[in-house]
Amino acid sequence: MSRTLEPSAGTRAAPDDAFPLIFERSRVHRRAWSLPEPEGDAPKLDELIPEGHRRSEPLALPEVSELDLVRHYTRLSQRNWAIDVGAYPLGSCSMKYNPKIAEFAAGLPGFASLHPFAGDELVQGALELLGTLERALCEATGMARLTFQPAAGAQGELTGLLMMRAFHESRDDRRAKVIIPDSAHGTNPASVSLAGYRAQEVPSDERGLVDLEALKQALDHETAGLMLTNPNTLGLFERDIKAIAAAVHEVGGLLYYDGANFNSIVGVVRPGDMGFDIVHMNLHKTFATPHGGGGPGSGPLAVSERLERFLPTPVLAAPAQDGDRWRWDYDRPDSIGRIHSFHGNFGINVRAYTYLRSLGPEGLRQIAERAVLNANYLKSLIESTFPTAYPGDCMHEFVSTAKGLKRHGVRAMDVAKRLIDLGYHPPTVYFPLVVEEALMVEPTETESKETIDGLAAALNQIAAEATSEPELVKGAPVTTPVRRPDEARAARELKLRWSPG
């Protein structure tokens, strides 16, 4: 049986030959670097830097030729899955196609080479881009203003929660807790704690939706607000949202919208119209920016009018009239302050803007339509073998359970590993925690019917194999450079860096 993601010849991942670390390719005195001479009559280093500050320990950095370097990272890249290689149906991740035109745009020197301290008058093109993107994102969310400082969703969450706190405190109203559903993403409770609030969980009911009664129980004047993603982590739309909003507002709380699942509703329904006061978006999901193996992202935070004055400094100020300039407004007395070293992940926002301008209004709505279509279609193809945890239609993703295979000793993780051998990246497994043996699947709108048919066929085949030849499934994967790394050992015998000698 052949290998998946085989490194190229010369690095055959036979059990004996592991792929070397760049450090292991090092040879004393070999070099890739090429730098100018310290020029002219400048004083020598030892005249400039006192001995006490001069490095004394030698640095064990790799010494390689540029060709060594190029081959190492080229081959390393070939040992990795990617959207450009194949389908990536990770639930809650919206791994859709990242348009190449956006890479072109972000690479233009007029964007890529701008210094963050360049005066506003020098970066009008960049500011106009951000201004237009802000207006569009506010329109799409039904919010008034936003900040681009948050570098990712979690940072957006913290920013929003700090604004929630500033809002309450501005009314001399100190509150202690923020409510989240038990199915919430881990960053929600983590951000709540970081903002100095207590996270209180409310259960989902048998519909997989927020238990309205339990919520009402939990709500009180200690409640700063509620964090919710809608559709929720189970891919279901919280249809009671109006009632939920009313109940939260009733006790003076605010509603925070976790925009990680925004992809499924863009152009169809707006968080603002559902009653949300604060919204973060994951542009690295909904707006198709490349995920870079774990980042960068961009998590702009949008708020309704009554929260506007608390936005981080600076905020963008549009030209008052023609001839005026775009500028950063630092005169924000009620601002919570700064949350990023500079202006956030600008390069990612350029990509998001490019995507926005490529789609237009119809395109934006269509991504939601097709994302939901793809998810429901896939769901219908595998429902009999991997039933969904909760009844009803899903939005852009759904959570199935593999618990039916347990009696053959096959676990959700085994299904995932076997799927790799059949040529697909597995869905998210064991999340959300509220579903046993969870398989959380999000095909996204850019996958074709053929790809989804193939994925479904593979999943159904695995379900059959679980009965007929469970060992085949439990023994997977066999087509990858490495197989089932020992994670327990990794955490027990810590090897977190290469060390010389």
Partner: protein, 447 residues
């Protein structure tokens, strides 16, 4: 252009197969009352040729490297990014991959991150590094939060020589936690006088090395004093200085953090950059964010995985060491490639060239009548230029003459009203330094 693969036939078949009347039926679970019911009011779609032209036009209305000679600093620097770095870190298999949750399909990213961690540990003189944080400010915040958890104290002493933006972010980030943050002013050499620092009861003493003025703090003494008082020393460190300066680890720092933009990442108007975070092994369970670790696979082959995840939000949730999830992995990979391109000699040369050209610039600029370098003594990559003019005015005037300098320091340091930063990287030639000096002379003559 919408990048959607569905043919009309596909849509029809898929709707039928999954039992939907039409597209709208897919959204039946959304109450009508909240639905938008109109098209979004956003700019119309552009075809790719139109879009490319539009983006080029926008970009052309911003002034970049080839328009202005960049002597600007303040935490973002115009270093050379080796062509190989862009070509390799930009490989689609790195750029379009997700977080390495399935190690079998992610050895490329996982090993690159492991190498990144190893390189960061090596230059900072530390045992453990994480897979990256958002930026320098965020890394500093996480360093302080680690110290607070580790010492169970809430008092934090921060040198005024730490980037003003980082200090702002620290205040904002921790405003909900009610830490009590004290600022430590610099003396007239632009550095912190260890004698004036009283770390009693403090969780952390935070300094920058080199500091915001390009000056070298006495980190070792500060570390000793901090340790005597049971506090940790958190050191914001410029990685490009590590080829010639002692590592924070060697000088006794407990946590080394920094901005990694200078390592293979473009200026990009302030982001995406990469936060570097490293510390000692004892503190590993307090480390925020992802960590790649080495292990073996089912066949005994070396393999890499995300490890110690019990620290993280997706497992520990409200009790996690941090809320960070998506980080800046791609920038970390670029930094790893750049550091491997440099190697020990290259990093030393980079530091030497920056230091010596900065010294040359300091000497030349000091010759300008009415100007002086505000602080005496050793500098790295950055100097504080004091001018007879208002610094902001001069900065604007110089950009009109083709030079980007600054930032001016008055906003953050009242005592530095007429001062601005001038940064000198390996890209700046002596000819450019002379030209800058002459431009300033001309400008001053005009006033």
């Amino acid at each position: 252009m919408d990048f959607l693969p569905h043919t009309p036939e596909d849509v029809a078949e898929m709707l039928a197969a999954s039992g939907f009347e039409d597209i709208d039926a897919l959204f039946a679970s959304i109450p009508a009352e909240v639905k938008l019911g109109r098209a979004l009011d956003v700019p119309p779609a552009l075809s790719e040729p139109e879009l490319a032209a539009h983006m080029a036009e926008l970009a052309a209305r911003s002034a970049h490297g080839s328009d202005l000679v960049c002597f600007a600093g303040g935490g973002a620097y115009d270093h050379h990014v080796p062509a190989a770095v862009g070509a390799l870190a930009g490989r689609a298999e790195f750029a379009t991959s997700y977080t390495p949750y399935q190690p079998e399909l992610s050895q490329g990213v996982l090993q690159a991150v492991f190498e990144f961690q190893s390189l960061v540990c090596e230059i900072y003189g530390m045992d453990v590094a994480n897979a990256s944080l958002y930026d320098g400010a965020n890394a500093l915040v996480e360093g302080v939060n680690l110290a607070v958890r580790a010492t169970k104290r809430e008092r934090v002493l921060v040198s005024a020589g730490v980037h003003p933006h980082y200090r702002d972010v620290l205040k904002t980030y921790t405003s909900g936690l009610g830490l009590d943050i004290h600022e430590l002013g610099h003396d007239d050499t632009g550095a912190l006088d260890p004698g004036t620092v009283d770390p009693t009861g403090a969780a952390a003493v935070v300094v920058a090395y080199p500091n915001f003025f390009g000056r070298l703090e006495d980190v070792r003494t500060l570390a000793d004093r901090a340790h005597e008082a049971g506090a940790l020393l958190v050191c914001v460190t410029d990685p490009t200085a590590m080829g010639i300066l002692r590592s924070p680890g060697e000088m006794g720092a407990d946590v080394a953090v920094g901005e990694g933009q200078s390592l293979g990442n473009l200026l990009s108007y302030g982001g995406p950059y990469v936060g570097l975070f490293a510390t000692k092994l004892e503190l590993v369970r307090q480390v925020p964010g992802r960590i790649a670790g080495e292990t073996v696979d089912a066949d005994g082959r070396r393999a890499f995985v995300l490890t110690l995840q019990a620290r993280e939000q997706h497992i520990r949730r409200a009790k996690a060491t941090s809320n960070v999830c998506t980080n800046q992995t791609l920038m970390a990979i670029a930094a790893a490639v750049h550091l491997s391109w440099l190697g020990p000699q290259g990093l030393a040369r980079l530091g030497e060239v920056c230091a010596r050209r900065t010294a040359a610039a300091a000497r030349r600029l000091a010759e300008i009548p009415g100007c002086k370098i505000r602080f005496e003594g050793p500098h790295f990559k950055e100097i504080v230029l004091q001018t007879p003019l208002d610094a902001a005015t001069l900065t604007r005037a110089l950009s009109a003459r083709g030079f980007l300098v600054g930032p001016p320091l008055g906003t953050w340091y009242p005592d530095l009203e007429n001062c601005l930063l001038v940064a000198v990287t390996e890209k700046r030639t002596s000819a450019e330094i002379d030209a800058l000096a002459e431009a300033i002379e001309k400008e001053l003559a005009q006033q």
